[in-house]
Amino acid sequence: MSLDEIKIGGMGASRRRVEDNRFIRGKGNYIDDIVLPGMLHMEILRSPFAHARIKSIDTSKAWGIPGVRLVMTGEMMASRNLAWMPTLSYDTQAVLATDKVRFQGQEVACVIADDAYIAKDGCEAIVVEYEPLPVIVNPLQAMAPGAPLIRDDKENQHDNVVFDWEVGDKSGTERAFAQADVVSKLDLHYPRSHPSPMETCGSIADFDRATSKLTVYMTSQAPHIIRAAVAMVAELPEHMIRIVSPDLGGGFGNKVPVYPGYVASILASILLERPVKWIEDKTGNLISTGFARDVYLRGEMALRKDGKILGIRMHTDSDHGAFFSDAQPSKFKIGLMHSAFACYDIPVAHLTARGVYTNKAPGGVAYRCSFRVTEAMFFQERMVQAAADDLDMDQAEFRRINFVGDDDFPHRTAFGFLTDSGQYGKCLDVGLEAIGYKDFLKQKEEAKKRGRLLGIGISTMTEPLGAGNSREYDILGIKMFDSAELRVHMTGKAILRTGAKSQGQGHETTWAQIVAHELGIPADDITVEEGDTDTAPFGMGTYASRSTPVAGAAIAMVSRKIRAKARKLAAHLLEVSEEDVEWELGRFYVRSSPDRGVTIQECAMAAYTNMPDGMEPGLENNAYYDPPNLTWPFACYIATVEVDPQTGVWDVLNVVAVDDCGVRINPMIVEGQIMGGLTEAYAMASMQFITFDEEGNCIGSNYMDYLLPTAWETPGFELHEVVTPCPHHPIGAKGIGECATVGGPAAFVNAVMDALKGTGVRNIDMPLLSDRVYEALTKRRDVSGMPPMRTDDV
């Protein structure tokens, strides 16, 4: 009799999390919890100026403080050829500044001391003389004639443009616009934001002179990429580098890049031959590490009167800060901006994109987002609502007219992506039903008569999750695939290792469920390990919702390899030929005699004690999975709001989320991911942004200025699901972690804009602070969020 898959913790079980057993006891092992014998502590001195020439650095007082072991400056790094490092986007980034500082918070010097307090004393004792230079905080300033050149360190860089890129069919798009009845236009800014995991970045570098081995414990979502980068930058042999990523207190993309602090701690450990710990403070994290978004859009949509979209034209200006260090596939200069409109059947589109340098922190990480797909979907859904309004059409109906039909998959988008599956109309219907769409529209009309402003916002989107396929996706030339290694022990217990790295997603729980599904080994009998490059198979790490689509697929594939070998062992034990053996969950049996069977555990025992002649002993294998396509989850997010016309304050009334991420491995964890994502969507729509004043001072350098929603502000969420299995993924799953963050913001903003419909206001840039909404309402004009921050933004 087949096993009950839910009982063994297989696919579909809301299995309680294994990792919680340590976290709820305070026994997690985060970077700052690790203490090595003889460990020293490093602190970083950062620039107070956004743009300045360094005239001198005097470190003598710091050296004089008892307990200070080493002071490092750019000059010293330069003497070892380490003042600059390569970024993930083929640019260079200063490790410690030599000539100039180019953003506020840039790393200028490091002090290594017996404890962190002394190291901070050391930083305060360093005297740096700066000569301030003109500052650029937005793309308009960066591209203005005569703008100061930010990257004068680079040969052949004569302006502040990082790239000028285009994709799509320009002339075809022009023809579509010539035939349009209506052209709808929208200009937007998606503000700079920061992933801001609760735990900051940090590292402990431990160079052992006796073995020449460098071990680096560090907060990395992609430890194997780091190992490759360290091998290249530090010119150390790769087998002598071990990167260990311990428990991570959140990542959200922030812990993908290589940061100067990591590099400095490594050099310090090599020089001092002692372990060196660097734990970033929150301000350092917010002002210097990977930001997200900061993209300006000019969009145009060619429309037929009946609501059909004929073509899309978009231009983006993206602000990359002082160094181009986006973590993104090298083929796509502005991430996956051109994945916009993938759920709509649009014949033709054209995108031009320009990236610029400014005096702001570098990083451009995909904050809970596949390579800028968040901006793409926000622009898409804001433009869709604006177009529906321009045509005076119902916003749900406008979407339905333009959706790709259920029978039209795989569907080639206007920008050339191939979407794999979906039931878009069904998702929308479930959402509209849940929110009570028709009733709400009536309520809204009634309320309006009494001077109350209600609004409803819809966001429907599909996005490409699970880079790569290796044909199109690479980082620094390393193809994007992932891996799993499964070792089944004699007694049928197992250990699984993957190239992914959990930061809270619960891999220790869900990965075992995939093995349980494939092999019938109870999930509780499977240990999952990740994050140690000496033991884990090579993989590209966890970000961009790629773990289930790629590593998860590798786990299914390696399990199937194990099952194939177990089948041979079963045939041997049952004394029949392999062709006569059938499989049911956890057990092989003889086709003609189903009572005669052996369990997977019995096969495992035989692999070590009773294998057939000529068979290699043991029961272990690995799999590298290069997906044929990305997975394309779909979602419909709907929010209703009430805006107070007296103050501009808006309250969320209801939020409904309908997610189709294919087959769900662990529904409890999937729902947790969706609720977390919705909260970040609400955060971006309502309060969370990093801006700058005209001198380049970062406004948002701590949690008093950078507002994250608490339990009090965060609305409740109502979740629904539609299941369309991914046709090319071995277990039919799709990515999910980022969907709500990607699709959610437009639902909130569209809701507020819907409440303001009829006032002539077309757009308010996020976050929709009450003063911005109030300004829009009272002055009946759009409100831009472009920095420098104006005083009335406070």
């Binding site: 008892p66 959140g250 729902e671 909260t679 339990a711």
Partner: protein, 176 residues
């Protein structure tokens, strides 16, 4: 922080002032010689090797470092160790008994009230302080009580459910 690394760094500058503090931590009296500027969070983590108290923001905003100070939740990243002299401190390590979990811990696991786990100890201790004085809180009361503790992963909804779960179990225990 002179006292903390004595085994590693026997040589210490003589002019750094040191104070002796005695704190009852999770029911056990602990003493340490500390620099007056040493933060309580660092004494707990590095001095007493209790790393369940996390430091997240350094500015009293995020609540990852929350401990119970004479039964009330405080942010230990902005309290000096010397201010805790003679007081009673409870950390996450003191929440479970030797053999079984506290209902709040069970609730967080059962309702998926955590993901990365970094905010969890502070979140659970704040919840304990609430349930100590209000054993039957409404959802709004829970949300308000937890509003000094930030979480980036969960969206709070399951945290609220976790606390409600614990409240039910604790009331059941009290009734028996």
């Amino acid at each position: 922080m002179t006292s903390l690394n004595e085994e590693v760094f026997p040589e210490q500058a003589s002019d750094i002032p040191v104070r002796t503090v005695t704190i009852t931590v999770n029911g056990e009296k602990r003493s340490a010689n500390v620099e007056p500027r040493l933060l309580l969070a660092h004494l707990l983590r590095q001095g007493f090797k209790m790393t369940g108290t996390h430091t997240g923001c350094d500015t009293t905003n995020c609540g990852a470092c929350t401990v119970l100070f004479d039964g009330k939740p405080i942010k230990s990243c902005t309290m000096l160790a010397v201010q805790a002299d003679g007081h009673d401190v409870m950390t996450i390590e003191g929440l479970a008994s030797a053999s079984e979990l506290h209902p709040i811990q069970e609730g967080f696991k059962d309702e998926h009230g955590l993901q990365c786990g970094f905010c969890t100890p502070g979140m659970m201790l704040t919840a304990k302080a609430l349930l100590d004085v209000n054993p039957n809180p409404t959802e709004d009361e829970i949300r308000w009580a937890l509003s000094g503790n930030l979480c980036r992963c969960t969206g709070y909804q399951n945290i609220v459910k976790s606390v409600l779960w614990a409240a039910v179990k604790l009331r059941g225990q009290a009734a028996n």
